[in-house]
């Protein structure tokens, strides 16, 4: 029998080369962590009396803040992408259009590279928490240990499924496609499980419940069912889709900017459109999910609710409104540019509706961003009679915010409908009547949402929260649910007047996609901080007090700097991961360069394609900036 030393080196090399990337990463991580485990074992007795450890310089809390945020953002991407990747694959399978399958595969390629990094950050976070917060971790372990085992099992199942799903993609075509889709379904099922189990640990910290007697499994299950668990699950699930969509959009935007062949430009223009569409699709129900979460938080504990919405963290919600506003504007801007650039000759027909939508969006955004308590100098405050403006102060409360959020969602939805209908002429005999009904319904819906919003000021809060806000959401939902199939039916028999041309978007479309992704990352960093700081000086709200030297809430400016840092680090990480994921495409790019002569004008295509008569200015601007 050969010993390890006798194994030929070439065999080892071959084995290492054949080993999946993820496995290599995990092995590498395990080797790195061995000394930590050994140290932990040695320090077992000492650890029993240690409540906190610190990291010199950066501080334990800041380090955990950065690592936890990176892990959460990476996990958001890893859990969001398979949802729409799988839907894309399903659409490709049903419609027999190969481009959807190709797109789904490209999504999954990004997923596989991000998966290992997510696991890596999860491992780092876990060891940091065990090392830096032993008392808290001992409490949580005691409470949740059975769920840790479930989490491990889910992780194993997810990893195995992802292997089969990704490596079996080309093999499982044709008759085997149904099985591949089933694997994709399982992948999403496990992914959702992986999300909701740790969510219960974090939500327990924010909204702990009294856990009665019982065995370890019963106690863990009772602790998991805390008031904010499901609101956070739903909110995160939707937010992950938004994050995944916009990041995929940004990836497509960058690839579009770097595209050298017509095929690449067309593909990445289309991929950018799909990414933006997915982001918008998720963004539409997200405010409702957020509203539900805040309602549960408020109902669970008035103190926590006010700290978040009216207390010292309230300014974060104004920042949130700004970021969401940029996202809404960015996503709609991309849709509108899609109409003017991809559908030649359509610019004049859509000028007026686009302007109307833009004005409504900006007015709504103005209301959403108006704080209840204004920043004012002493002289200004005296003139206003306090920091609460007698007229515009009414925009500062939830009734106004909910109303404009609903109107913005309606406008964005109509933007999409307009994009969908652009370049087509309905031929059905009932088209005119259907469009009149749709316009009428839209007008009624908008008026009803506004009336309910204004009425909301004159009824008890509970009536507004339980009925008026819900009615507003249902009205907007009704419009979406009825308009989508009606439009699809109208377009089924429509004739195409102008063919949509892909690969003609301008440079700024690519940057717009990147901006949207940065905004959503910043938004998640912001609200991650808000959720975490709402516990103030408690590790577990009202149960375990933070007695470390960091038991204070950082100033908002300091926190904002950390959110920006987290966003920047995450962007770097994602850029690195995508760069690694696309290394294999380099050979293809070399081939594409050879086909550069296909490009009109014979120049490498910047985003938006080679200069044409209508785009000379942009190319000129680009040239000047080179």
């Amino acid at each position: 029998m050969k010993s390890a030393n006798q194994i030929p080196q070439s065999n080892v090399k071959n084995f290492l080369e054949k080993m999946p990337t993820l496995f290599k990463w995990v092995s590498f991580l395990s080797v790195l962590l061995l000394p930590v485990i050994a140290m932990a074992a040695g320090a077992e007795t000492k650890a029993m009396s240690v409540e906190y450890r610190d990291v010199p310089g950066i501080g334990s809390r800041n380090l955990v803040w950065i690592v936890a945020q990176q892990h959460l953002l990476l996990a958001g991407f890893v859990l969001g992408v398979p949802i729409f990747g799988w839907v894309c694959e399903l659409v490709g399978w049903k419609t027999k259009e190969a481009r959807y399958d190709k797109l789904a595969k490209e999504f999954t390629k990004l997923l596989t590279s991000a998966y290992a990094t997510t696991a890596l950050f999860g491992g780092i976070l876990l060891f940091l928490l065990i090392g830096l917060y032993p008392k808290l971790m001992a409490y949580l372990t005691d409470m949740f240990f059975p769920s840790f085992l479930v989490y491990c099992l889910l992780f194993l199942a997810e990893t195995a499924t992802l292997y089969m799903y990704w490596y079996g993609w080309d093999y499982m075509q044709g008759n085997k496609k149904a099985f591949h889709l089933f694997l994709g379904f399982l992948l999403n099922l496990f992914a959702i499980g992986i999300m909701i189990v740790p969510n219960s640990w974090a939500t327990f910290q924010a909204s702990p419940v009294v856990v009665g007697d019982g065995d370890a499994w019963t106690r863990a299950w009772m602790a998991m069912q805390n008031p904010t668990w499901w609101p956070v699950n739903i909110h995160r699930l939707i937010a992950n889709v938004v994050l995944g969509g916009f990041i995929v959009g940004a990836y497509a935007g960058i690839r579009y900017l770097l595209a050298v062949s017509r095929e690449e430009r067309e593909h990445y223009d289309w991929m950018g459109y799909v990414g933006n569409f997915i982001g918008v699709f998720g963004m539409l129900p997200l405010p409702f999910a957020g509203y539900w979460l805040m309602r549960e938080v408020y109902q669970y504990n008035q103190q926590m609710g006010i700290t978040l919405m009216g207390g010292f963290l309230a300014w974060l919600f104004i920042l949130q409104a700004m970021l969401i506003g940029v996202l809404f504007l960015g996503a709609n801007y991309y849709f509108w540019m899609g109409i003017t650039y991809r559908i030649p000759g359509s610019e004049n027909s859509y000028k007026k509706p686009i302007m109307a939508m833009l004005v409504v969006l900006l007015l709504c955004l103005g209301v959403w961003m108006t704080p209840h308590t204004l920043v004012a100098s002493l002289a200004e405050a005296q003139k206003m009679g306090g920091t609460h403006h007698p007229l515009l102060g009414v925009f500062g409360v939830m009734s106004a915010k909910m109303t404009v959020a609903n109107i913005m969602i309606l406008v964005t939805f109509m933007s999409f409908i307009m994009y969908w209908r652009a370049g087509k002429q309905e031929t059905a005999g009932w088209a005119k009547a259907a469009k009149a009904i749709m316009n009428g319904l839209l007008a009624i819906a908008a008026v009803a949402v506004i009336v309910l919003g204004v009425w909301g000021y004159f009824v008890p809060a509970i009536i507004r929260i339980n009925y008026f806000s819900v009615a507003q959401v249902l009205i907007v939902g009704f419009i979406m649910v009825t308009f989508t199939p009606l439009t699809a039916l109208l377009l089924k028999s429509a004739k195409t007047t102008t063919e949509m041309v892909w690969g003609k978007m301008p440079i700024r479309a690519g940057y717009c996609l990147v901006l949207n992704a940065v905004m959503v990352i910043l938004l998640m960093s912001l609200m991650g901080y808000a959720r975490s700081s709402s516990r103030v000086h408690w590790h577990i709200y009202g149960v375990m007090r933070d007695t470390s030297e960091y038991a204070f809430s950082p100033a908002l400016g300091y926190a904002a700097a950390f959110m920006s840092l987290n966003t920047f680090v995450y962007c770097l990480l994602v850029a690195f991961i995508f760069w690694v994921a696309t290394l294999g495409d380099k050979a293809k790019a070399q081939q594409a360069k050879a086909s550069m002569s296909d490009v009109p004008g014979g120049t490498p295509a910047m985003a938006g394609g080679a200069p044409s008569s209508g785009e000379k200015l942009e190319s000129g601007i680009l040239e000047n900036h080179k």
Partner: protein
């Protein structure tokens, strides 16, 4: 016919004039922070609309780029370009200097009006029945102790109100007590301004610490009277509360 640059400039000027001069004719003047916010939105709108298509981009930005590049300029045009290139950095420098230079003006105020209450006041329920007798008693106590500042009409316009900055709360405004639970009001009345946390600037509130003079029963009844008099309802989580 006006170009998009002129139209945009007129629109921005119009928004500014409306916010700064016309709106204050009907209500209190807006703080600079809010005007700046709305102006930024208006400017963003102009830029988004102006860059929606290749032709609109050319109309909006073409003249700007041609002007800045100095392409085919002579005489007055050249001089104007030079003036802009010199004056713009100076303007930025002046703006930076004024924002950083020491000033004797107090900084902009960022006071949290409704801070989170202490834990011991969370979840308290009004122990007294919401009936006519209690409400009337509450209104009587309100008239005696609260109305000098908060006003007989519950609108924050009592005879002593003008002496305070910040002014007493207007309970008839749906943005005040209607957003809060009764336990919150109990805390604010009982502990007064000095009981506020730091972010609410306790040194800025003249609200007395009524626990010194009034028993809890009176405070709960005053709360009932306030809500009834101001035609508002307290925030609850159950409709039958």
């Amino acid at each position: 016919m006006r170009g998009p640059i002129t139209s945009g400039a007129i629109l921005l000027a119009g928004v500014f004039v409306f916010l700064k001069f016309i709106l204050p004719l009907f209500t209190a003047p807006l703080p600079a922070s809010l005007i700046y916010l709305y102006m930024t939105l208006a400017f963003s709108g102009i830029m988004l609309y102006g860059t929606m298509s290749a032709s609109s981009l050319e109309s909006l930005m073409g003249p700007v780029f041609r002007f800045l590049s100095g392409e085919g300029q002579s005489g007055t045009g050249k001089l104007a370009r030079l003036a802009v290139l010199v004056l713009f950095p100076l303007l930025v420098g002046w703006q930076t200097y004024t924002s950083l230079a020491p000033s004797d003006l107090p900084p902009g105020e960022n006071r949290t009006i409704h801070p989170a209450p202490p834990g011991e006041f969370v979840g308290l329920a009004n122990p007294y029945q919401n009936n006519e007798a209690n409400i009337n008693m509450g209104k009587g106590l309100y008239a005696a102790y609260c109305s000098p500042c908060h006003g007989a009409n519950y609108d924050g316009k009592g005879p002593a109100a003008k002496g305070f900055n910040p002014p007493p709360a207007n309970f008839a405004d749906p943005g005040t007590i209607a957003q809060l639970q009764e336990s919150y009001l109990f805390w604010r009345i009982k502990k007064g301004g000095v009981g506020l946390p730091v972010e609410a600037m306790p040194w800025k509130s003249a609200m007395p610490r009524w626990e010194v003079e009034l028993p809890d029963e009176f405070i709960w009844k005053i709360i009932m009277g306030e809500y009834d008099g101001a035609h508002q309802s307290p925030r609850t989580w159950e409709e039958d509360d």
